[in-house]
Symmetry: C2
Subunit: 137 residues, 2 copies
């Protein structure tokens, strides 16, 4: 249990760091927390693969939300299988009022993130903020 808690703390810290980097639009630093072959679901049916594509996607997402994006995590569940962890997270996306009004996307989501340990560091391999709603498309 102690080991589980430490893994949870380590991953939570990384998610919080990434949320701050997204808000600050420091995408070069952000993508260092993704694996080389990570996948980001940009929107249903559109994926970015690898750090360069993920960086470009975050630049577009930031512009889409009027450079006012602020992700916040709510309730979280960690399912830990050794060096592989599935995180389920209630995610709130804050943005400027105008950006939210213009957005076709839900600002409250149930996300699924997969982290894996690479050379002792936890990195995000799969970043899917849409969770199982992708099954609706």
């Amino acid at each position: 249990m102690q080991e589980q808690n430490q893994t949870e703390r380590e991953i939570k810290q990384i998610i919080d760091t990434c949320d701050r980097l997204i808000q600050a639009e420091k995408f070069d630093e952000l993508v260092e927390f993704y694996t080389e072959d990570a996948v980001l679901v940009v929107k249903p049916g559109m994926e970015a693969h690898g750090r360069e594509q993920i960086k470009q996607a975050f630049i577009k997402i930031a512009a889409y939300f009027d450079n006012s994006i602020k992700p916040i995590e709510g309730e979280m569940v960690y399912l830990i299988a050794g060096d592989t962890v599935l995180v389920l997270a209630q995610t709130f996306l804050e943005a400027s009022e105008a950006a939210v009004e213009n957005s076709e996307f839900s600002m409250e989501r149930r996300a699924t993130y997969v982290f894996k340990q690479v050379d002792g560091r936890w990195l995000c391999a799969i970043d899917n903020s849409y969770g199982t709603t992708l099954l609706e498309n």
Copy 2:
């Protein structure tokens, strides 16, 4: 894209095989498709870790459903990050009428499975048939 399709096919075949093994209650064969340190969400708040615990959990789940369980997958989405894959799956659990009536669990679910490639084989590391509904508990 071709590589993605092949990975999808390989994993789909394994999921179908596992569904058949569950229905046939061949749990020794079944757990060979899980990693050594895999985690199975037995029910919200209860996890089985490792092959022996997972086998025992499946024996209990089968008994709970009156030894009449038959999992069927519907719509599926694969998010592929190299040797790590998140599968989102609409899952229907068929069982005898009496077992279904007595069950407190939903028979239609949106599951999240994480597979990883170990020595060239795809194995299930995280088996969470409850998907993001775990965030509700």
